[in-house]
């Protein structure tokens, strides 16, 4: 956002008496990431930073809100008591075993039981998310989650689930071509093509992927990205 725009926004916030938390999406990076094409645009994240909804302000449901808040921390990190500093530090390092153990040492006044329950809920949600990714054929999502969870859940029984997932993906011969195509799609996303020629080249690459990966999750991803790129081209005619 420009300096001038920031100044105007601050005046607007003051004039409206808005009390909600706000910040600035410098350079519109996050807007582009979520493909924001109209305002207001809403993004709903669960406690593990997984996007549950991205779209118009009226498009998310109470059910999604319940899903987002299930297992979320009852208090934000900046409101944790000083006694919870070890649990907080461990959580920030994504060391869930340590964080849960530290929370278990805290009493009710410091929110220990509630923090411990929430951390265990986050672990459960992470494992379920990884398994759900595999079930729907999102091999790259499952592989990525498996790698990170083997570190984050070290010392917890759920670490075995992450290790088993890695083994299952390796043993699944159908997973390899899906992974290959998903990585190609991820590269196209990372490049974030914006110029017409770049977008057209990306569409050609996606057409090849859609053909070769027909019937797989990679084809679904290629379809979705193709639609987004075509829409972007149409908006900029």
């Amino acid at each position: 956002m420009t300096d001038e725009g920031k100044g105007d926004t601050e005046k607007w916030i003051a004039a409206k008496g808005a009390k909600y938390a706000y910040g600035y999406d410098k350079g519109g990076k996050l807007s582009r990431y979520f493909g924001v094409s109209g305002i207001p645009h809403v993004v709903l994240l669960d406690a593990n930073g997984i996007v549950l909804y991205s779209g118009g302000a009226g498009g998310y449901t109470d059910e999604l809100l319940r899903k987002a808040t299930a297992g979320a921390l009852p208090k934000p990190l900046w409101e944790w008591s000083a006694a919870a500093k070890n649990a907080k530090a461990a959580l920030q390092k994504q060391q869930f075993k340590v964080a849960i153990d530290e929370a278990a040492k805290l009493g009710e006044p410091d929110g220990g039981p509630a923090i411990k329950t929430a951390l265990e809920g986050m672990v459960k949600a992470k494992v379920e998310g990884m398994k759900a990714a595999y079930q729907k054929g999102d091999m790259l999502g499952a592989e990525t989650a498996s790698k990170s969870l083997q570190k984050e859940l070290a010392g917890l029984p759920e670490q075995a689930d992450a290790a088993k997932m890695a083994a299952d993906i390796t043993a699944n011969t159908a997973a390899e071509p899906v992974l290959k195509n998903q990585r190609l799609i991820a590269k196209i996303r990372e490049k974030a093509p914006t110029k017409r020629k770049e977008v057209e080249a990306a569409l050609e690459d996606l057409a090849k992927i859609r053909k070769s990966a027909s019937g797989t999750y990679a084809a679904e991803e290629a379809d979705a990205l193709t639609l987004q790129l075509r829409a972007a081209l149409n908006r900029n005619k």
Binding site: K11, Y33, G35, I39, V51, S54, A57, L77, I188, P193
Partner: protein
């Protein structure tokens, strides 16, 4: 709309003109690292402080 103490609401001011959204992320994807400027009216110092919280982000512009 449901109101939960587990849900953090965050409004993000964005540019008045929106660039080509060529790589919109779908539900199920992981939130990327986020760097925000001028976080206000919250105890959070950075977006990372929302770790473990459900977050509702609203992109808005003053106009």
């Amino acid at each position: 709309m449901l109101r939960h103490s587990w849900l953090a609401a965050l409004a993000l001011a964005t540019t008045a003109f929106l660039a080509v959204p060529a790589h919109a992320q779908a539900p199920g994807s992981k939130m990327p690292p986020v760097v925000l400027e001028g976080l206000a009216q919250t105890g959070a110092k950075s977006f990372d402080d929302f770790l473990g919280r459900a977050v509702l982000i609203e992109f808005f512009a003053y106009w």
